[in-house]
Symmetry: C2
Subunit: 156 residues, 2 copies
């Protein structure tokens, strides 16, 4: 079921992650689930996508371990499911916030967007950034990417 690995696409975590969350509605589902949306119809209202697409995305996200189905049952009704974010989904928040802030800064006309992110604890605004092992911020311009020396197989 995984795509055949003709290139190093299969070897690239960036591409792999993006192929999971990069589809049109997926990221919006995650955005909403972090805003507290849990139920099918609520997603549908907010996203205004077709139920078929929503169903598919929810299933994909659940199978990927980003969402967890939680059964609930109101009196006299049949069993229903709510969709809760998992730890893996929470781990994706830096990416989500980063995406949002980049768009706010570079795509929005006024340089800020319709939502903001704050810490529940301190109330301070929060941003996605790069930090080193000592938790010190690092400028993106000071980065370098390199292949890990432990690379098991070399391509080409």
């Amino acid at each position: 079921m995984t795509t055949p690995p003709p290139v190093d696409l299969a070897n690239c975590s960036i591409a792999a992650t993006l192929s999971l969350i990069g589809e049109k509605w997926t990221i919006l589902i995650l955005r909403d689930v972090f805003s507290g949306v849990r139920r099918f119809d609520d997603f549908l209202q907010r996203l205004q996508c077709s139920p078929a697409v929503l169903s598919t995305r929810l299933k994909t996200l659940t199978e990927a371990g980003l969402l967890r189905k939680v059964s609930y049952k109101e009196p006299g009704e049949r069993e229903r499911f709510a969709y809760h974010p998992t730890r893996a989904a929470v781990d994706l928040l830096p990416v989500l916030i980063g995406l949002m802030q980049w768009g706010d800064a570079h795509l929005a006309a006024d340089g800020n967007g319709p939502a903001e992110v704050r810490s529940k604890i301190s109330g301070l605004k929060v941003r996605a950034a790069l930090i080193d092992e000592a938790d010190a911020p690092v400028s993106p311009a000071d980065m370098q990417m390199m292949a890990t020396p432990t690379a098991p197989e070399s391509s080409t």
Copy 2:
């Protein structure tokens, strides 16, 4: 040329950014450009995509202000262009790194990927994270997203 704004998709920086960089090869182009790749043929070799797709993506990224065409001319040859990352592209690095590290942690079998990121200055490993206005790390679980109070128009 912009997509018609039927829903709040158009109002969402997350979706807007993703529609720009979310396409299959775009993120790989960015990855490579951060590794120092600059020329058409070098991208082509590394990505193994069709020249048509590469050409289109390069154009899109250039128009979006993520890449800058730099003319160069070798003796006896006609003018050629190299593609350099702009500041906007560099600003996207936290997202890129975040994507990579999430994939390494949650998709790779052994929990680490084929590449690592370090600071050119300190040599320390770097990761994408959330920090507050005082540069203190914030746990993703302690986040909350809310609409900005200054929202100019309300939808629906």
